[in-house]
């Protein structure tokens, strides 16, 4: 899992930069990986207690302080502490950022329990909650830093997959509600997030050889959703494929199809995990097993392209 481009590293670097300066506190509900227990420097480690961690974060933020919960472990964190996130953070609209350090990449052998792929859905349906899935180290770094100025709660899903960098170091143009158009074309819109952005770019290369020019959008802000960029793109292309390392319900595919149903309908296909729980295996095996690959994106593009709105 080690290598360049891990969004996990970008967010961790951003938090390390924030320590000891300003208003932010970093709370670790596990063994300390980021900070010793040094409240004076803005770092608190409280051991594995997910529900309590969210409540403590709520209390810490009540006077306006920004709290980052660095949750090493699977996105299961948000399922275990869902009621506390809802009652103590989202309803009072407090400035608490929850960072899930894995998209289950490094946890492959855990099987269904640890490999949670419904986290984006759970967080996206919660009012007040922003949901962010950065695609590489540099965007994760910039996005985490930008959250220091965000006025409300946010969920950030990171990955330990070494996908390689997509953006340059120092590119700071990432913010809640934003998106990036990575390639331009008039054949198909490929909306993706997280580690699937890299696969989408690979797919675009293959498609261009077949004469289909794909517009790849990095939809790193799933909520608020960058509606304008998506709509402008599908008006040019007339069809869309959504790629995400998540269940195919209520995640990025949900955000895209809800937006299109309201505004401008085009054929859409999803490259994601179906309505099933994951199984144990290595990261690479599961990418293939669940079809989270650029080949699967190409396959789906060919289908929607044939039906595209003209």
């Amino acid at each position: 899992m080690n290598g360049p481009g891990r969004s996990y590293d970008g967010a961790r670097d951003a938090l390390s930069c924030m320590k000891g300066g300003g208003n932010a506190v970093i709370l670790e509900p596990d063994r300390a990986t980021l900070n010793a227990n040094e409240p004076d420097l803005g770092g608190i480690s409280i051991g594995p207690s997910e529900q309590n961690a969210v409540l403590v974060a709520s209390g810490l933020s009540l006077d306006g302080r920004r709290v980052f919960i660095w949750a090493p472990g699977s996105p299961l964190f948000v399922a275990r502490s869902y009621e506390q996130i809802r009652t103590a953070v989202a309803i009072p609209n407090l400035k608490v950022v929850i960072l899930s350090s894995h998209d289950w990449t490094a946890l492959g052998h855990d099987g269904a329990v640890g490999l949670m792929c419904e986290d984006i859905a759970l967080m996206r349906v919660m009012p007040n909650m922003a949901v962010l899935v950065p695609s590489d180290r540099n965007s994760a770094f910039a996005l985490t830093r930008s959250l220091a100025g965000h006025d409300g709660p946010a969920y950030v899903r990171l990955s330990m997959a070494a996908a390689g960098d997509i953006y340059d170091y120092g590119d700071g143009d990432f913010a809640v509600g934003g998106a990036r158009l990575l390639t331009e074309g008039d054949g198909v819109t490929v909306a993706s997030c997280g580690v699937m952005v890299k696969e989408a770019l690979e797919a675009a290369k293959v498609l261009s050889q077949q004469g289909i020019n794909a517009e790849v959008i990095d939809c790193y802000s799933i909520k608020p959703f960058p509606e304008r960029m998506l709509l402008a793109s599908v008006r040019r292309t007339g069809c869309c494929v959504v790629a995400e390392k998540h269940a195919n319900a209520a995640g990025l595919y949900g955000a895209v199809t809800e937006c299109l149903a309201r505004n401008y309908t085009v054929p859409v296909r999803s490259v994601a995990i179906g309505d099933s729980f994951a199984t144990s295996g290595t990261h690479e095996e599961m990418q293939e097993y669940y079809g989270l690959t650029h080949r699967e994106i190409v396959h789906n593009v060919v289908q929607v392209w044939a039906m595209r709105r003209r």
Binding site: V25, N37, P39, D40, G42, I44, I46, G47, S49, Q51, N52, V54, L55, V56, A57, S58, G59, L60, S61, L62, D63, R65, E83, Q84, T87, A88, I91, P92
Partner: protein
């Protein structure tokens, strides 16, 4: 505390109870016991012990109260309005559409220090740490209702509070001694909290002198968190709202009978007590 002051506090408590009964009437709520049982504790904290500033309510040096026992919210609202945090008329739109006073405490309400509706001790711990980090002197008091110790999540917070020991965190744990509620005996609570590294004390939550003795003893405590087990409960019930008060909202007649019952009980205790 002299007898005169005790009489004054008893008078305040009686008026708070009456407002709670009236709120139950206008909001057609039932299940008044949790709100009635906590009245003396809240009155003591707000009128005697805590530093609060109704006219400058964001004063950073203030003490905070976290109400974990949300069924007691009407008593807290009645106290806050009586202290001048907001207009008393707000009490009559409690739990109504468009009203300020929500079923569960909301931090937008003046005087409400923390969101209600979930384990309040974790929030109180975070608040205590935040006050310390900001260099202020404020203390945090978390009021736990009967039955809350049965919730496993609470013990995560009890453990974390002992470990982080902010030194300004106090928990008031109601105990009714009523086995029907699945409530632990005081001795069990004291043993469990002690095993987690908490200091404990016991008070009669219906008696201001006993409450005062327990709270004065925590003023000299060390960094470890302190819990006061407060016996409250059955004598707080109002016959007018029994026996099936939890099933049907009170009628206007029930409210009138409850108000006169409160007056009678106060009279039995010698005028103002």
């Amino acid at each position: 505390m002299d007898d005169a002051r005790r009489g004054e506090l008893a008078e305040i408590a009686l008026n708070i109870r009456k407002d709670v009964v009236r709120m139950a009437g206008v909001s057609r709520s039932y299940g008044l016991s949790p709100a009635l049982s906590v009245v003396e504790l809240l009155v003591y904290l707000y009128w005697e012990f805590m530093k609060v500033f109704p006219s400058r309510r964001n004063n950073p040096e203030r003490d905070r109260l976290v109400l974990s026992s949300v069924s007691a919210a009407p008593a807290l609202y009645a106290c806050l309005s009586s202290l001048g945090f907001f207009d008393r008329d707000e009490l009559w739109s409690y739990r109504r559409l468009g009203g300020m006073l929500q079923g569960h405490p909301d931090i937008r309400t003046p005087g409400i220090d923390a969101p209600g509706g979930t384990n309040g001790l974790g929030i109180a711990l975070g608040l205590a740490l935040q006050i310390r980090m900001a260099g202020h002197a404020g203390r945090v008091f978390c009021v736990m209702g009967v039955g809350e110790p049965r919730w496993d999540g609470l013990w995560e917070s009890i453990d974390a509070a002992a470990g982080l020991a902010p030194g300004n965190l106090f928990m008031i744990m109601e105990s009714s001694g009523d086995p029907r509620c699945g409530v632990e005996a005081e001795a069990t609570l004291i043993n469990r909290l002690g095993a987690f590294g908490w200091r404990t004390d016991v008070a009669d939550g219906r008696d201001f002198a006993s409450i005062e003795r327990a709270f004065r003893s925590i003023e000299t405590s060390g960094p470890e968190p302190v819990a006061i087990i407060a016996l409250t409960g059955s004598n707080q019930r109002l016959d007018a709202f029994e026996p099936d008060a939890r099933d049907t909202p009170p009628s206007l007649d029930d409210v009138e009978r409850a108000l006169s019952e409160l007056d009678t009980k106060a009279g039995d205790h010698g005028g103002s007590a």
